[in-house]
Structure formats: structure tokens, C-alpha cells
């Protein structure tokens, strides 16, 4: 309690209240008129100089809990005081932050109410962060003191922390974004504007059915997503069956293949497909020569997007399916066979129905990934426009219509959220549990021939295809001009990653180094934070019971259903102006990665934590350890695989993400993917592909290192499982 009070006082009296242009860590502020210069001054010094008077209630709130000390309040009274002060402090900080901005009042109504305001303020800095944390702590201590969650301060504090960051970094930007959907160009709110934009023919037109013209983008997206969801599920199932039920010992190879889409930078698959199947692609030319046909642009549009997305997302469906297919207890199938069912009957009436959750999850994942995918439609879309690219071009295009982007984003959200809902309905409340207790052993029966043969065929063709595409990607970085001049060269690698020596030692002169190091730095910062937040949330969800847990879970998973483009735009809208000024910093990239990838951390944590017996926690608690101690000393060590999975996933995702990033990169913090887009735009496929190959190798090394660390601990990899339980 006193400790936290001192944190608050340090924040208020010592640290600069506002964000510093040169950053806290340059420490320039210490020598440049601190503490009196109003740019660097802590809030206390601002007040003594009669500046920023609206901060004056804050010290009162901070010191108020001492009243309890003086009057020797009972615990209940103390708690009430803390809750009151916490709420008041947070509310006041939020209100002044939103109410007063760079140009005085942010809302005209406030100006009318209080008269014009000459003063202005910048974004909140460290001082404000410390004080805010103190208020949050007051509030959670108060709530815990009233007996919530068994009066456990750590748990309440953790819940409070997660709610606070999710509100600030997910809900606040999304609300900002969506509010621009119901606003016209002059800032007037109106529902008719929204309806007019939402129901326009460009979205919902059915020209492709009635003949001749094109269908609306919404239908395009929906059709594409359903198709891709269905096909990836089917292919995923085929691979899962081959891996587990064919007697083939290729399971590990197939598993290794599943990391490919996660470590593939955007665009490269699209580029490879163009070079294979485009108008002048090698396959197209070959087929045209053999059959004496005129080559066409057939790949641009739906076929191209579908092929690229299948390549990208099938391994994800496989990951989901293999978990479920393996999870079906052999005992069930044995029972069926003992009862004289044929292999086919067993497969059809026992195995298939039991893997329904897998089918539903795989479909849902494919559906959402396809809806949100941005790189493949951009490269291969032709005239087949989809929502995700339209959102992007509504903002960057010549039309420049944020409102339109927001409306499109709402359509996209409606689709993804309904998919979630339908999936839940379809699964219903039936039980799919087949493994119970520990006495279960047995071998999976092999599949009937009529299923097995087609499965082999499909799997073989697909594997060959994937290998070709990735082979071409690696090869493409070493040829002069891919597709036209196939002389081997190191030119692209030298341009991108050249290293020279000068008087200062090694000199990284390649043009890609800058973005490469930034990407590594950002990814390495985001990964541990993502894992921490994700696992903490998972722990709260699995082990603690509190009111509003369902809403809490929904909030933390929401960012998964929101496409990256929407996140990117909403972050720009929300964090370019006070109270939180983050654009142009590395922090905004880190934060966007944390909240994009947090759901994976949460899921990995939940999956792994449900396997830990609760009696372990109880034993620790009974022996007198605090919840915090139990969490750090018992739970965390046991969850090492999940932690590593979350770490690696968020690291790798941060290196390959593009859709949100493209809006958030700045001169100083440029990311690898945005550099690659620049090269692709410039027809510089060589460097783009060389860079992508380097990224793939780096990420493979990271994944391998993780596998090695996990296996050495003899706990087996849960990297796969972390993605299965969606």
C-alpha cells in the first residue's frame, strides 16, 4: 500500500508528466531545465507554476487513502475509500486526457460549458503512467478488500490490469474507428450516412448471378472465405488421416511442413504462383505449348487467390485436425469393429462424427484467415475485389474515405463474428470426449482402402506442389531476373545484406539491414510481453472464477476476429493525438503485435493449463504460499512448453505480419514486411524474394531452437497444440 503510494508520488512529483519528444531514455531532459521547464516538468512542478491546473485534483486522490490511516478505519471502510479514490482518480485522468488536447478543448460542448481554454496538453508520459498504475492498484486493493475473488489482491490486480490494457488498446481504437463509420465528412453523426454506405450496390450487388457484371465485394469475400474454409478443412483432414491412420511413418515430416505458412512472409507465395501460372508463367507456357493453346490470365482472380490461400492455410487446418484425429480414442473404433462393423462403416459412423469439433474449428480458422488475408488478394486478385483489400484502398486510395473503410470493416466483422456464432451452434453441447482416465491404450486402425488411396494421392500431389512453390522461392533470390533471365547471381543478397568494412569496423551497407534489425528488435520485445499477458489471462480464465468472466474472455479474444487492416487504421486514429501519443514510435508496433497475437498466447496457456491438476495449486496455497508465489513458482515452470510456444509464435508473427503494420511503420521504425512490399511494388522481385528467404531461414532457426529447448526438457512440443483448441 505505502509502496504503491510512493510509486504514485514518484510519478507525480519526480517524473516528467508528459511525453518527451526525444524520449525518456536520452535523459536530455535532466539537464535541460528540469524540473521547471514546462516541457519536462513533473506534474507537481507544473501546478506550482500555475500550469495545467486541471491536474490539481490528482494529488488529493493520491493522498486520500491516508485518511483511513488517520481515522483508524475498519477494513471495510478502508476498502470503500480505496475503491472510491481509485475510480475517481482513473475517471479524472481519462476525462482530462480526452477532454483537453493539443488545441485546448477537444469537444465544443466543453468550451461552451467552461469558456475557451488557452492551454493545451501533449500526450501522457511516464509520470502519468505511474500515477495511473497507482490508481489501478488502489481500486483493485479496494475490491479485493471487499471480498471479491477471496480477497486476493494479486488476482484482482491482474484482472484489473488485463481489463485496463484491453480497453485502452483494443476497445478504444475500435470504437474510434467505428464511430467514423456513422460520421459524414463534416463530422456530423448520422445513421443515414452509414446505411447509405453500407447497403450500396458495390458491396451487395449480385451482378455475377444475373449475368455480365461483377458481384459486390461482400459476396466475393464471403464466397471466397467459405470456399477456402471448406477446402482447407478437407485437405487438413486428408493430411491428418495420412499422418495418423495410414501406417505411414511420415507424421513428423508433415508436422514440420505445418510451420511453413507461419514463417512465410506475405506476398512470396503470390509471386511464386504468378511465376508458375501467370500469363507468362512456366506452367502456363508449358501447357499452352503442349496443347497448342493461347495462354490466358486465368490465374488472376478467384482461382489464384484460392490456390494461394490453400497453400497458406492448409497446414493450419492440418494442425487442428491432427490433434482431433489423434484424440479420438482407438477403443471406440475397436469396439465398433468388435461389433462386426466393416472398416468403412467404422470410419463413417464412429470416426467422422467424433471429429466434428475439429472440422468446425478448422473451417472457422480457414474462414477467418481467408477473410482477413490481405497479401494474396493484393497480388493475385485481378478484378476479384474482396473486403480486406477494399478497406486498405478506401484509406490509401485517391478517395481517401475513412468512413467507407470503417463501414467495410463492420461488414467484415459481422461475417467473422457470425462464423464464430454458427460454429458454436453447430457443435452444440454434445460431448466429444473419448479419452477418459489413464487406462486407455490401443492402436489406431488403418483406414479403409477406398478412403486411403484418394488420401494418398491428394497428399502426394499437394506436397509436391508445396515443395515446388517453396523451392522456387528460394531459387528466385539467386537469379538475375526471375522468369526472364535465369543467370545465377548473388546480386540481390549483396544489395540487401551487403557488409563492408570501414574505419569504424563492420559497416552494414546493404539496404535491408535497417529494417531487418528494427524487425528483430520489435519482434524480440513484443514476444515476451505477448507471452506474459497471454498466459496471465489464460491463468485467470482457467483457474479463477469471477463475475463477468465470459465477457472478459470475449474481450481478450476479440482482436483475433478483427482484421489487421482495421487494427492498423484504428491505431492511427486513436494514438496519434493525446492522451496517448504513440504513432511514429516503436512502441505502437510492439503494442499492435501484443494485442494481435495475445489470443494465441491465451489459447496456448489454456490448453496447457487444463492439463495441470488443480491440486498442485491447492497444495501450494494450503502450504501458505501467496497466489503470486503459486503462479510464479508452480504454474509458470510447469507451463514452459506453452510459454515457449507463445514466445515463438508471437516472435514469428511479428516478423511476417503486414496488414496492421503498413499503417504504423515510420521513418525510424520500418519493418521488413513493409520494405518487401516496397520492392514488390517496384517490380524488384529479386530483392523481395532474397529478403524473404533470409527471413524464412532466420525464423526456421528460431523455431528449431525452440523445438530443441522443449525436447531437451522432455516435455514434448506443444507448439502444435497451442493452435488446435480454437
Amino acid at each position: 500500500m505505502l509502496l504503491w503510494l510512493s510509486v504514485g508520488i514518484v510519478g507525480f512529483c519526480l517524473l516528467p508528466w508528459y511525453v518527451l519528444e526525444d524520449g525518456l531514455w536520452s535523459f536530455e531532459w535532466l539537464f535541460d531545465g528540469y524540473p521547471f521547464n514546462t516541457d519536462y516538468a513533473p506534474a507537481a512542478f507544473l501546478l506550482t507554476q500555475g500550469e495545467k491546473l486541471w491536474l490539481s485534483p490528482i494529488p488529493l486522490f493520491l493522498l486520500f487513502p491516508l485518511v483511513s490511516q488517520v481515522f483508524k478505519h475498519s477494513t471495510a471502510q478502508r476498502s470503500n475509500v480505496l475503491i472510491m479514490v481509485g475510480v475517481a482518480g482513473i475517471a479524472w485522468m481519462v476525462m482530462q486526457g480526452l477532454g483537453i488536447g493539443l488545441r485546448g478543448w477537444n469537444f465544443e460542448a466543453l468550451g461552451q460549458l467552461f469558456g475557451p481554454l488557452e492551454a493545451r496538453q501533449f500526450g501522457m508520459g511516464f509520470g502519468a503512467l505511474f500515477v495511473f498504475a497507482t490508481f489501478l492498484f488502489f481500486l483493485s486493493t479496494g475490491i479485493a478488500g471487499r471480498g471479491a475473488v477471496n480477497g486476493d489482491v494479486f488476482v484482482v490486480g491482474a484482472i484489473g490490469l488485463v481489463i485496463a490494457v484491453v480497453t485502452v488498446f483494443i476497445f478504444f481504437p475500435i470504437v474510434q474507428m467505428l464511430s467514423s463509420a456513422v460520421r459524414d465528412n463534416d463530422g456530423v453523426y448520422s445513421l443515414t450516412i452509414f446505411a447509405e454506405k453500407f447497403f450500396q450496390n458495390k458491396f451487395w450487388g449480385l451482378g455475377c448471378i444475373q449475368g455480365g457484371t461483377r458481384c459486390g465485394v461482400a459476396w466475393n469475400s464471403l464466397f471466397l472465405a467459405v470456399l477456402v474454409g471448406f477446402l482447407t478443412t478437407l485437405l487438413g483432414l486428408v493430411f491428418a488421416l495420412v499422418a495418423t491412420r495410414s501406417g505411414l511413418k511420415r507424421g513428423n515430416f508433415l508436422r514440420a511442413m505445418t510451420v511453413l505458412p507461419i514463417i512465410t512472409p506475405p506476398f512470396v507465395i503470390g509471386l511464386a504462383i504468378i511465376l508458375l501460372f501467370g500469363l507468362s508463367g512456366s506452367v502456363t507456357k508449358l501447357v499452352a505449348d503442349v496443347l497448342d493453346l493461347q495462354p490466358t490470365r486465368w490465374v488472376y482472380g478467384l482461382p489464384g487467390i484460392v490456390i494461394a490461400q490453400l497453400l497458406s492455410f492448409t497446414p493450419i487446418a492440418f494442425l487442428v485436425m491432427i490433434g482431433v484425429v489423434e484424440g479420438v480414442s482407438p477403443a471406440m473404433e475397436e469396439a465398433a469393429q468388435t461389433l462386426r462393423a466393416s472398416r468403412w462403416q467404422t470410419f463413417k459412423t464412429v470416426t467422422l462424427p467424433l471429429i466434428r469439433p475439429g472440422l468446425a474449428n478448422a473451417f472457422l480458422l480457414g474462414f477467418i484467415e481467408s477473410m482477413a488475408d490481405f497479401g494474396n488478394p493484393l497480388v493475385l486478385g485481378g478484378n476479384y475485389d474482396v473486403l480486406s483489400t477494399e478497406i486498405f484502398f478506401a484509406i490509401v486510395g485517391a478517395q481517401n474515405d475513412q468512413g467507407m473503410a470503417a463501414v467495410l470493416a463492420i461488414a467484415l466483422l459481422i461475417f467473422t463474428l457470425s462464423a464464430f456464432y454458427v460454429q458454436r451452434r453447430w457443435l452444440g453441447k454434445k460431448s466429444y470426449t473419448t479419452k477418459t482416465g489413464k487406462g486407455d491404450s490401443g492402436m489406431h486402425v488403418t483406414m479403409p482402402k477406398r478412403v486411403l488411396l484418394p488420401c494418398y494421392l491428394v497428399a502426394a500431389v499437394w506436397t509436391l506442389f508445396t515443395a515446388t512453390v517453396y523451392g522456387m522461392i528460394l531459387y528466385g533470390g539467386f537469379v538475375e531476373m526471375w522468369g526472364l533471365n535465369n543467370t545465377l547471381t548473388f546480386k540481390h543478397y549483396i544489395t540487401a545484406f551487403g557488409v563492408g568494412f570501414n574505419e569504424f569496423g563492420i559497416h552494414f551497407k546493404g539496404s535491408a539491414w535497417d529494417s531487418f534489425f528494427t524487425t528483430l528488435k520489435i519482434a524480440a520485445t513484443a514476444a515476451p510481453l505477448t507471452a506474459m499477458l497471454g498466459l496471465l489471462t489464460a491463468w485467470l480464465l482457467v483457474r479463477q472464477n469471477f463475475a463477468g468472466k465470459n465477457a472478459f474472455e470475449f474481450g481478450t479474444m476479440l482482436s483475433f476476429a478483427i482484421p489487421g487492416t482495421v487494427i492498423g487504421v484504428s491505431y492511427i486514429l486513436a494514438f496519434n493525438v493525446p492522451p496517448l501519443e504513440l504513432t511514429g514510435t516503436g512502441a505502437i508496433l510492439v503494442i499492435s503485435f501484443i494485442f494481435r497475437n495475445m489470443p494465441v498466447g491465451v489459447r496456448a496457456g489454456i490448453a496447457s493449463m487444463s492439463q495441470l491438476d488443480k491440486s498442485l495449486d491447492e497444495a501450494s496455497l494450503t502450504l501458505g504460499a501467496s497466489t503470486w508465489k503459486t503462479f510464479t513458482r508452480i504454474i509458470l515452470p510447469l507451463m514452459r512448453p506453452a510459454i515457449l510456444a507463445a514466445l515463438v509464435f508471437s516472435f514469428v508473427r511479428a516478423m511476417t505480419a503486414i496488414s496492421a503494420v503498413i499503417f504504423l511503420v515510420s521513418a525510424e521504425y520500418n519493418m521488413a514486411t513493409s520494405y518487401i512490399i516496397g520492392r514488390v511494388e517496384n517490380n524488384d522481385y529479386g530483392i523481395a524474394i532474397a529478403y524473404s528467404s533470409v527471413l524464412i531461414v532466420v525464423m526456421l532457426a528460431v523455431v528449431a531452437l525452440m523445438q530443441f529447448l522443449v525436447n531437451r526438457n522432455g516435455q514434448g512440443s506443444r507448439f502444435a497444440q497451442s493452435r488446435t483448441n480454437w
Partner: protein
């Protein structure tokens, strides 16, 4: 109460903040660039070498950059915006996002560059110009047994069906310039008849302006309607591209430069502005295969570059066709009357 608990909050906060600390230096410039990457780089490093001012650069298309400047308007992060087609620069001026500035080097510039500046209250200036036209892939054209096109009207002939590509005027400044050019060349009614006829032959409306010629260069398309210097650049890069200046005459773009209003380093921005208008700096465009005509009269040009004097240029009305209202009207008309037609 455990003592370790605050760590959780603080460590995360501190880590995030550590990244928000930019490197400190005396003079700096935040530079938004909308030309091609190499040219942007060249300008950035060239300026650093010439002045010692530290430059941080972001390269984005002109549409993206305008969007960013607009989003950052209440707290501008950028100082100067260099390159990219002129319309978004004019739009920025119109929306009060840019600063007025009269460079001492104005006398050395071509008239069209000054005219551009004056039409926007000197809040922008022309730095290069390039004429619109199209390019075709010789090999693909031959393998399809197509005649060589020479005029705008040739592109509407039935034999080119599925062989022509242009960008979508809604998303690309280049394509909007095409639309505006056709309207000024043929008059609005006949111009839209032309666009409708052309629509039948278009195989794809790309998002980005230069994509059609890049696709043609790779053999993924036959004819791309683009700025001629973009087509020249592909030819120079070794692709089998031939450049066409349409016989009826054509429009052109003027690349812009703009000082962003309320930027953090206004002095550096003005220094860059003057520096970028000098003949020496502009002559260096050739090093990076940029074949536009530069604004400084003394700047060198490439023998490969299309000679603006030999091309029939229309008297392009930048003030009218650069304005938001006219743009919106033409785009809506194109959307309603052309893009919905069956192909």
C-alpha cells in the same frame, strides 16, 4: 502484498517506453517520400551528406502519404513531403495541411513548376513532370499477332480485348490523370464513350498506377496505360517494353514537393526544399533510372527519356481537375457509368 507484483506492471511499461525513445541529434528532418525507393534513398543520403542533418525517411505512395499526413494533422510528425503525383499535394494544400514557402531558387525552375505552385498558393511546387502514354510488351504483342497501337483510339479496337490494363482511377492518381486527360482531350461526353469502349478491352483495373506496365514487363499483360517515364524505366531495366506517345496528344503529371504545416523541424524542411530544387541534385535522378523531366531548367535529362517537346501535350487544367469536387464528380460518373458495364 508481495513486492514482486509491481514489476509486472512496470517492466512492461518500461520496455514499451524504451522503444519510443528516438535517437537524439541536433538537427533532423522527417522526410516522407512518394517516388520510387532508390530515388527516395538517394535524396535522403544526398541531403545528409550535403548538410549533416539527420534524415529519417518513410516511403509510401502519394495516396498513403496524404492519408498519413491527414491522420497526423493535429500533431504532425513529418516535415517535408517530396515526390509523387501532384494532385495529392494540391489536395493537401486545399485542406490546409501544408505550409506556404517561396524558395530563392524559383527563378531557375520551368514555368510549369511555378504555375503548379501558384495554383496552390505556393503551398507546393512542381519538381518533375512526365507525360501520360502507354507501353506494350513486344513479345506478347507478337505472339498474339496484334498490330502495334499508336493512338488512344486504337486501344478500343476489338482485337485488343483482354490485352489492356490500367489502374483503377479510384485508387490511383495515374489512372485519374488518364480519365481527366481523356475528358479534356475528347470532351466529357465523347471522353466517357471512349472510357466505356476501353472498359471492354481492359483485363484488370490494378490498384497501383504503375502496376500495368510492370505486369506487361513480366509478360503478364500486353499493354499498360501509364506514365511514359515508368514505361521507359522498365525498358531500361531490360524488359521488352516499347513506349507509345498517343497520336491524339496526351496529358501529363507534375510531381510535387510540400512542406508539411506545423512540422517539428521547419528550418531543415526549408533547407531540403531549396536543395531539392538545385540543378545538380535533380540531375542525379538519372542515377536511379528516373526519366521524368526535372523542374530545374539546367538539370540534365536522359536520351532515353521521352522528349516533352516532341509530344503533343494538352493544356492540362491542374486547378480544375485537381480540385476535390471535380475529382469526386468524375470518379462517381466513372463508377456509375463505366465500371458497372459488363466486359
Amino acid at each position: 502484498m508481495s513486492k514482486k507484483q509491481p514489476l509486472l506492471l512496470l517492466v512492461s511499461g518500461l520496455l514499451i517506453a524504451a522503444l519510443s525513445a528516438p535517437v537524439h541529434s541536433a538537427e533532423k528532418l522527417t522526410y516522407y517520400c512518394s517516388a520510387q525507393e532508390e530515388w527516395c534513398q538517394l535524396m535522403a543520403t544526398g541531403f545528409e551528406e550535403a548538410t549533416g542533418i539527420k534524415v529519417s525517411m518513410t516511403r509510401k505512395s502519394s495516396g498513403e502519404t496524404l492519408a498519413q499526413i491527414k491522420a497526423e494533422a493535429s500533431n504532425p510528425k513529418g516535415d517535408i513531403w517530396w515526390g509523387g503525383t501532384g494532385d495529392p499535394h494540391l489536395q493537401a494544400a486545399e485542406e490546409g495541411l501544408s505550409e506556404e514557402y517561396l524558395s530563392p531558387l524559383r527563378d531557375e525552375q520551368h514555368d510549369w513548376a511555378i504555375k503548379q505552385a501558384e495554383s496552390a498558393g505556393n503551398q507546393t511546387i512542381g519538381i518533375y513532370s512526365g507525360a501520360l502514354g502507354y507501353g506494350y510488351n513486344e513479345e506478347v504483342l507478337k505472339s498474339n499477332n496484334l498490330p502495334v497501337p499508336e493512338c488512344w483510339k486504337d486501344l478500343t479496337k476489338a482485337e485488343y480485348k483482354g490485352h489492356v490494363q490500367m489502374a483503377n482511377p479510384n485508387s490511383s492518381g495515374t489512372a485519374y490523370t488518364t480519365l481527366a486527360t481523356i475528358v479534356q482531350l475528347f470532351g466529357e461526353d465523347e471522353g466517357f464513350e471512349f472510357m466505356k469502349a476501353l472498359h471492354k478491352n481492359i483485363n484488370q483495373y490494378t490498384k497501383s498506377g504503375s502496376a500495368p506496365i510492370k505486369a506487361a514487363a513480366r509478360g503478364e499483360n500486353t499493354i499498360g496505360i501509364v506514365f511514359m517515364h515508368d514505361a521507359v524505366a522498365q525498358a531500361v531495366a531490360g524488359f521488352p517494353i516499347k513506349v507509345v506517345a498517343p497520336c491524339e496528344g496526351t496529358g501529363y503529371e507534375i510531381g510535387g514537393m510540400t512542406i508539411i504545416k506545423d512540422g517539428r523541424n521547419p528550418d531543415s524542411a526549408r533547407k531540403f526544399y531549396d536543395w531539392a530544387l538545385t540543378a545538380d541534385v535533380q540531375s542525379r535522378a538519372l542515377e536511379v533510372d528516373s526519366f521524368q523531366v526535372m523542374s530545374n531548367k539546367a538539370a540534365k535529362s536522359s536520351p532515353m527519356a521521352p522528349d516533352l517537346d516532341s509530344i503533343k501535350l494538352i493544356d492540362y487544367d491542374f486547378a480544375k481537375y485537381g480540385s476535390s469536387d471535380e475529382r469526386k464528380r468524375l470518379l462517381k460518373k466513372w463508377d456509375d457509368e463505366v465500371s458497372v458495364l459488363p466486359q
